[in-house]
């Protein structure tokens, strides 16, 4: 007998508690849900569990294809190589490089962006510029001791790789869309998702690539 889930719902109205499979056939109890069914159920449950507030509307729960794949191949399941390549190819095609061909801004402004963790939270003022919060995950300058370790250390980024246009462009692209180079990276896609502006990304590239930046001195 083929199992069929007829409907998903909540016992009661509003934000009452407890997931209820309103109607399932007998076979459902003995055979587990597929990953896709479970994912669909999770999305329904989440839509019922959040409310829009400030700039954080419910559409933030809608995943794009990359988010969907990275969620699916997470935890117990490793990301298949071909899926990873597909993500990188599609993301790379969507990077918008600066029209003026310049990748380097002001490293001092970049340092301020790297320090700032505000932006896009429902508690943040959407009129103010967002930060990059780079220090939350990366070591950057030597003077800032309060840095996280989710991402690799970036001290001497430019000095170690060489101050070349190719590395400048790579740094810009990586900040713009990290997943273009490393599928399902934990790093936000700062340009692609509209977190940082083109100028802000240039400023962060300068922090990494300007020989005068404290990262390279």
């Amino acid at each position: 007998m083929k199992k069929k889930i007829i409907a998903l719902g909540w016992s009661g109205t509003g934000n009452l508690i407890g997931a209820v499979l309103v109607a399932t056939t007998a076979a459902c109890a003995s055979s587990p849900m597929s990953e896709d069914q479970r994912a669909a159920q999770a999305i329904e449950v989440m839509k019922a569990s959040f409310r829009a507030r400030g700039q954080a509307k419910l559409d933030r729960l809608e995943q794009d294809e990359t988010q969907r794949l990275c969620s699916l191949y997470s935890g117990d399941e490793a990301l298949p190589k071909e899926v990873g390549q597909r993500i990188e190819t599609s993301q790379r095609a969507m990077i918008k490089y600066p029209a003026d061909g310049k990748f380097i801004g002001d490293w001092k402004a970049g340092e301020r962006i790297a320090q700032s963790g505000v932006g896009k939270q429902f508690s943040d003022d959407p009129a103010l510029p967002a930060g990059g919060n780079c220090y939350a995950c990366h070591q950057l300058t030597q003077s800032e001791l309060s840095y996280g370790t989710i991402g690799p250390g970036l001290y001497q980024f430019g000095k170690l790789r060489g101050y070349t246009p190719e590395i400048e462009q790579y740094a810009y692209g990586k900040i713009y869309n990290s997943q273009a180079f490393s599928a399902c990276s934990n790093m936000p896609r700062f340009g692609h998702q509209g977190i940082l502006t083109e100028q802000q990304i240039k400023d962060v590239v300068a922090l990494l690539m300007d020989p005068q930046s404290p990262i390279n001195r």
């Binding site: 909540w10 016992s11 509003g14 934000n15 009452l16 508690i17 407890g18 997931a19 209820v20 499979l21 109890a29 849900m33 479970r38 994912a39 159920q41 999770a42 449950v45 989440m46 019922a48 569990s49 959040f50 409310r51 829009a52 507030r53 954080a56 509307k57 419910l58 933030r60 729960l61 809608e62 995943q63 990359t66 988010q67 990275c70 969620s71 997470s74 935890g75 896009k120 939270q121 429902f122 508690s123 220090y135 939350a136 995950c137 030597q142 001791l145 309060s146 840095y147 996280g148 370790t149 989710i150 997943q179 934990n186 936000p188 896609r189 998702q193 509209g194 977190i195």
Partner: protein, 269 residues
Amino acid sequence: MHRIYRAASMLLAVAATSALAQQERSAVEEIERYRAALAEGNPAELWEARGEDLWRQKRGPKSVSLERCDLGLGAGMVKGAYTGLPRYFADSGKVEDLESRLVTCMVALQGFTPGEAKKDPYGGPGKKVPMDALVAYIASQSRGMKMNVAATHPKEQEAYELGKKIFFYRGGPHDFACATCHGADNRRIRLQDLPNLTKTEDAQKAYGAWPAYRVSQGELRSMQWRLYDCFRQQRFPELKFISPASIALTVFLAKNANGGVFDAPSIKR
């Protein structure tokens, strides 16, 4: 000559690195010392005492206490109740964590409307709410006991699987999931250590430390609040109090912490 220069500069680099490591270590040690000092006097006790009074107080339209509330071990049994939550309750037909179970009891026993019972889920400046106090009291009655969430009922199992999906669900402008910060070993945000909540040892330590008194906020914070604030930083919309997703996620986290010694309300920066 060139080789000597290179050796010297390498030595300097090593010295600089170890000085940095030293500085870093002492910063971490300072934080540990600060935490130890805090633990000696935990203001959570004030919430615990207030919660015990509220538990026994006749409240609501029906003017009855919560002493007949069944938290999973039988009516009125508070000792050890938190270690078995969330669990499925036949009377409500739902999987409930402590906060949602308290709402169920406030409605069923005391006659509050669901809206009234859920109105003030979290305290704030100048606002002390009954929920925080009740959570502190009931949690404190499980201190020193081992987490023991059965998750054997089909609805508990379903909630666990659902919670797991939500844990790994990437979304929002930053592509963040719970797992972004809490899915790998030995990571930090700034200087804050991040527990890997998919790993037993870390999950036990982290889950067993909530609810907690937050020094920086001067508030007692529940697990519901912890999830609410994580999602805020994840750039998600606002998590509804005792929503199905919050409870499913709590089942996932609590079950992963099974066997760990519960040691809360704790105190945090």
